[in-house]
Structures are given as structure tokens and as C-alpha cells.
Symmetry: C2
Subunit: 188 residues, 2 copies
DNA sequence: TGAGTCGGCTAATACTCGCTAGCCATCGGA
DNA sequence: TCCGATGGCTAGCGAGTATTAGCCGACTCA
């Protein structure tokens, strides 16, 4: 692991634990064993660290989504796979997801606009999946928008309460949430 | 409205918009038309403001929950009413809910322990409702814990995306989410 | 009228933080 | 062996922060 990667990881943990504003460059430095000012040999600024973390997280999420859907046409199966990827990503990257959700406020332009755009795009992808299912007569929902928000919220909630060491395995949580999502849209 | 109430409201709006750490006492003062130091004639500290906001929010949530359940024995109807109260509270107090969810990190003891306890209590109430429904054979869920987290997350998500001026009325959103929750636990 | 309280103000205290400057040890390659 | 790059370090700048001290006008009430 390069020093730069170690710094990114340390920043992620600090931002998650204390928040972006409350985290000092000295904190991040201490987490990788160097002094605060030495960080500037590797990164341009604290803000750049946050931006990189958030863009990476959204990229990862969207990439997993695309991979999960590749080559599947059935609306129910597509939603199943999308929710699986969504929930699994939030289970495996809960710290990233937590920072992504809670530190939007601290992200300033131009990266702010970029990340907001990526989030909007991701939401639209889910809305499309629900719409397709409704159009095919496989789902039954009152509001497509509310249903897709609900599904997204299900997964994002993991960032708060999921723990790897918990009593439920990753697969148990993922499959259970996939089931919730399919029930929610009244699949079949 | 007393000055103290105006200050609490202003602090709430500032914390929601900029976050606790990024909000200065001067910001809060400006929002009520006085200077930062003058706030200390009405409140003890910035931390006390945050604590009061968070405790009030949790108190409100738990109170609405109790009121909603009073005098109802049927498990399905109890969950329906609890989710209605939960979602309605998050719709009507989305700013409070947003701060409550995102500023836990900035809350320090002793208030931190108090609020965490209240949250745990609230979660337990929902877990109990789901358990009762399962015990009565009215619900069908793989994991009581996951189902109650899912229901709670549904409502908390509103804090992020709900807007009073949106195309959907409060009742439409609430009823839709109640329906989602009941589907989720496989009611009937 | 005069004492006391209320609630504003400015000035100042005692930090803290992001970031820059500039120094120096180490080390790979010519 | 020397040279330049790399990546640490300390010192310090400039800006900003919560909070306190202490002043003063306005209002209440005896």
C-alpha cells in the first residue's frame, strides 16, 4: 500500500469517526504515523481527500450496479440483482457509504456538483428498474418514486447499523433485504 | 416566540445547513439578528443548544409513538399506526430528524449517552411490534431485527429527500410508506 | 427618581487549524 | 562520489473560534 493510499484510508476512518470538520490534518497524519504538514507531500488539501473519497465511493457503487445488471432482461431479476449489489456494497463499504451520506455538506464545488450528479444518476437507474417492472405488469406500486427511494434507503440504512462482526452474515442480510425490496414493490 | 426559542430554531437551521462544527455562534446570532456573544445571555453553550435539539427530537418521536398506539391491541393495526406516526414525524420535522441523525458525532457526554439510550429504546419498541405480529401469526419475516431496522430506515430516509413543496402530499407519502412497511413484514 | 435587571454591544482571551517555508536525512542512479 | 528527488521534520503565518469581561441603554417597579 502506497503512503497515499494509507492516507486516504486514514482520512476515511477519521472522517467517519469525527466528521470532516472535526478532523484535523494532524489527526490523519497521526493515523499513518507522520505529522500533519508532511501529508502535503502526498495530497493537495484536506478537501481533495474528501472529494476523492466521495467520487470513488459513487464510482464503485455505479460500477457494481452495471456489472450486476449485465445481460439480464427480466425486470424482477434485474431488480433483484440491483438490490443485491446495492446492499452488498453498503455492507462491504459501510464506512465509505457513511461518509458519503453524511459529509455532502462539507464537499464544495466543483466536486460537489459532480457527486450530486452521480447520486442523481444512480437514483434514476433504480427508478428505471421499478418503472420497467411496473410497465411489464410484474410490480405493483402506488408511486415509482417513493418505491425506489424506499429501496435505496433500505440499503443505505446499513451504513448506520451493520457490523461485520454481527450475528448475521453478509449473505443473510443481503438476501433478506432483497426479499424486502421485492415485497415492497409487490413483485409477482 | 421567546428569544431563546428563536435561537433554538436558528441553531437548528444552521446545524442542518452547515453542520454543527461548521456553524459559528456568530452565524446563529446573525440568524436571529444579534451578535454571537449576545447568545450567551440566553444559552450556556453551543453544545447545550445541540443537546437540547436532539433530546427534544427524540422525546417528540417517542411521545408520538406512544400516543399512536394507545388503546390498540391488534398487531397489524399497531404496526400501521406506529409507522404512520414514525413517517409523519419525519415528514413534519425533517430538519430536526436530519440533525438528529447526522450530528450524533458532535454530541458529547452526558447528553450523548442519554440520546443514544432514547434511540435504542425507540428501536426496541419497533422490534417489539414486529415480534408481536410474528408471534400472533400475522407477520412473516426472516429476521425481526432486520425487518424493524428496514421499517425505521424507510421513515428516516424522508429526512433526506422529502420536501413539503413536493408533488406528493404528506398523507400520500405516509400511507404509501405504511403500505411498504406492511408488505415488508408480509402482513396477512 | 433611583436601583436593579435585562439584553444588547465591543474588545479581548486563549486557543486551534489549514497550509506554507524551508531545513535535512536518505537513497537510487550516473 | 556526488546530485537530485523523495519524504520526513519544525517553525510560523494568517485566519477563525468559543467563550468571557465588562460597558451601557432601556425598562420595571418601589
Amino acid at each position: 500500500m502506497t503512503t497515499r493510499e494509507a492516507i486516504r484510508d486514514a482520512a476515511l476512518r477519521c472522517f467517519a469517526a469525527r466528521g470532516y470538520e472535526a478532523t484535523t490534518m494532524a489527526d490523519i497524519g497521526a493515523a499513518v504515523g507522520i505529522r500533519g504538514p508532511s501529508l502535503y507531500k502526498h495530497v493537495a488539501s484536506k478537501q481533495e481527500l474528501l472529494a476523492e473519497l466521495m467520487v470513488r465511493t459513487m464510482n464503485g457503487l455505479i460500477t457494481r450496479h452495471r456489472e450486476a445488471l449485465a445481460g439480464t432482461a427480466d425486470p424482477v431479476e434485474r431488480l433483484r440483482r440491483a438490490v443485491d449489489a446495492h446492499v452488498r456494497f453498503h455492507a462491504r463499504h459501510r464506512v465509505e457509504a457513511f461518509v458519503g451520506a453524511s459529509e455532502m455538506r462539507s464537499l464544495v464545488d466543483p466536486h460537489r456538483t459532480t457527486v450530486l450528479g452521480m447520486r442523481a444518476e444512480y437514483e434514476k437507474l433504480f427508478r428505471g428498474l421499478v418503472e420497467d417492472g411496473v410497465a411489464a405488469g410484474r410490480f405493483d406500486v402506488g408511486s415509482v418514486r417513493l418505491a425506489s427511494y424506499a429501496i435505496l434507503d433500505l440499503g443505505m440504512g446499513l451504513a448506520t447499523w451493520y457490523r461485520e462482526e454481527g450475528e448475521l452474515s453478509e449473505n443473510e442480510v443481503v438476501w433478506q433485504q432483497v426479499d424486502f425490496a421485492l415485497r415492497l414493490v409487490g413483485a409477482e
